[in-house]
Symmetry: C2
Subunit: 376 residues, 2 copies
DNA sequence: TTGTAGGCGTTATCAT
DNA sequence: ATGATAACGCCTACAA
């Protein structure tokens, strides 16, 4: 196509990249390009520039709305830098995650954000060794020299426990995820610590463990209800909470009158449920956004020192844990109508400002992905 | 590193790809590779092979569980061929989608699956012109020479209407998505046709339109309830249906006793709701799987004629539309306990068999993404 | 301003 | 079986 324009290949390249060129050359190149339908080859460009314009995200379960929220936030940042997001779901398996991390050496992406629910030395080794930047969302050993955005789910659990106790609940059940996961362990510790802080002994019959899925939550809650008699249920995430809600309603318990219910992650699911679920926000969108920003900064400058950021949890109180009005009639209406969403957790994420990809693709505006204009 | 091994660069390449080589050479190369920590560069390989090993998927809303299901199915197939999936969310915007399709000329992926809710001539032009294979999930003009997997949501709507009428419902409300979308238009037409088929006149007050989201469904249902008096509600997807459920319960209507509820897409959400929602399965997982298979076949052989596949809808009947037992007491228990999930829509998707990527990456097993071992 | 030439890291072809 | 060499498509000194 350079030939077609009657100019050198170099001139053509320059024109296409908007670098110099006489008016005449520019015209000829443009014409020839249009004529031939020339489009630059992304691969060749990557080989030359040593960048792919891709950023990867590895999460355990793409169906969990908490990761959807995180993904959206990440994608917004990534897209605003002219890059694209590649999503992996690992099923929470260590082998799958470490394989992914090692594959980074192939340089098929410019960076990776990973949110493991189990963290092993293999993870850390792979990350430290990796030639491409990695940011971890989640708890990490204190001395790990790795960019990291975390929250404190122990405190989050405490918020929920305090709230339930303040509302007069006495027997708080706890439906957790696997204890051999980082969040599972943290939430277990948080739950016990929170009770201890109020001088309340832990009743093991009020604690149940499954995985972080809906079905497990439903089943675990069913077991718990069968053997204990909680007046509140705290669940380690919203999927579990929705499962627990199903179990409660199936058993004929009223929520929140008989049993108050609180989830964690404060996802869309919490607001979709009926009654709407109180939920501990762990700032997943914020963590995602910050992680993406950290990653882009590191891509721009690999020599930055390792950074560690914290996002504070907060509690969104909704109908599922608000004491019912003592209305005696009308047994049909399941829940008191409270002004939903007191919104301690509603934040407007400001438009992020991050280092853009050095050579933004010329020509038409890059299509966003994952989030842009989400509402049809 | 070839130098380090004391062999030519070509020999090294051969050994690394497992092609021939004397025992001695192999040993030397392996040793040197380990020593230097050599990892093949994915970009350079792509430049040479003219393949990236990436397949893209473009959907409107990554938070809609129907796309999550589709994505999982696609990802399983894609991963089994040694490729990776790149997910884009377009927000259902035509501009965003066509931009994506045009970008295919950059060859940053080996193929794309797109599931547009609005299809324009621009889409078709871009697809036909595209140098990389594209498969469309969704309705398409009959003469479009494009690989295509579709379902018949008109028939799907009819299944639901027949079911509700058979259950003795008289006034079926319909909460639809935008009429200027392909699925919105099809479902509207299907609803009217189904009623007509039973000789029932259409009452426009029983039809409400929003978008395909939860909030819109809730609001639209609220409006509909305020002005009409349905004994059943059919919703254009499960997100809308869950929104409608929220509206119904908020208004104090019992489901299904006062109002039966049926969604569409038969997503996880339908089973998470309480009561569980009947839902029209449009075979999203199957469509996804077939689309991925078609795409891989076409990547393997670009000269295939355009293919068109159909996936039949079916109805999953659950508690939300099953006539309540005439129990007169106990007004608290919201729903009859029916053996949930008669599962006309439960299918075991057999492990797909598809053309694998010609040169599978040597070395460690490729990590799957998006779906593998989803349950932690 | 323009053209020539080298290289990004691989694989493939062709002699040897 | 091995080694030199030419692509793959692009960018970028460097020279003209």
């Amino acid at each position: 196509m350079a030939a077609r324009a009657g100019v050198s290949i170099a001139s053509a390249s320059r024109v296409l990249n908007g670098i110099g060129g006489s008016a005449e050359t520019v015209r000829k190149v443009r014409a020839a390009a249009a004529e031939v339908g020339y489009v630059p080859n992304a691969i060749a460009r990557s080989l030359q520039s040593q960048r792919t314009g891709l950023v990867a995200l590895a999460v355990a379960d793409i169906g969990n709305p908490v990761y959807v929220a995180m993904m959206r936030a990440i994608e917004a940042v990534v897209a605003s830098s002219g890059r694209q997001l590649l999503v992996h779901a690992t099923g929470g398996e260590v082998a799958s995650e470490t394989a992914l991390l090692r594959r980074l050496a192939n340089r098929y992406v410019d960076g990776m954000i990973v949110s493991p629910i189990r963290i092993t030395d293999e993870h850390l080794d792979a990350i430290v060794v990796s030639p491409v930047p990695v940011v971890v969302v989640g708890q990490l050993p204190d001395d790990a020299p790795v960019d990291n955005v975390r929250t404190d789910s122990r405190t989050g659990v405490a918020l929920a426990v305090d709230h339930l106790l303040a509302a007069g609940r006495q027997r708080i059940g706890f439906v957790n995820g696997p204890l051999d996961t980082v969040p599972g362990a943290a939430r277990d510790a948080g739950f016990r610590a929170a009770l201890a802080g109020h001088g309340i002994p832990v009743d093991e019959r009020l604690i149940e463990v499954g995985d972080f899925q809906y079905a497990a939550g439903r089943d675990a809650a069913t077991r718990l209800l069968a053997r204990a008699d909680p007046d509140a249920l705290l669940c380690a995430n919203d999927l579990i909470a929705v499962g627990a809600l199903h179990a409660l309603l199936t058993e004929g318990r009223r929520v929140p009158q008989d049993v108050a219910l609180v989830g964690m992650d404060d996802t869309e699911l919490a607001q979709m449920a009926f009654p709407q679920l109180s939920s501990v926000s762990l700032g997943s969108a914020t963590r995602g956004r910050r992680a993406a920003e950290l990653l882009l900064e590191r891509i721009a400058d690999p020599d930055l020192p390792p950074r560690r950021e914290h996002v504070a949890p907060s509690l969104a109180v909704r109908a599922s844990s608000i004491p019912a009005v003592p209305a005696s009639g009308v047994p049909a209406a399941p829940a008191s109508s409270v002004p939903a969403d007191p919104a301690p957790s509603v934040r407007a994420d400001p438009a992020p400002s991050v280092p853009a990809v050095p050579a933004p693709a010329p020509g038409s505006r890059a299509p966003r992905s994952l989030t842009e204009g989400r509402r049809a």
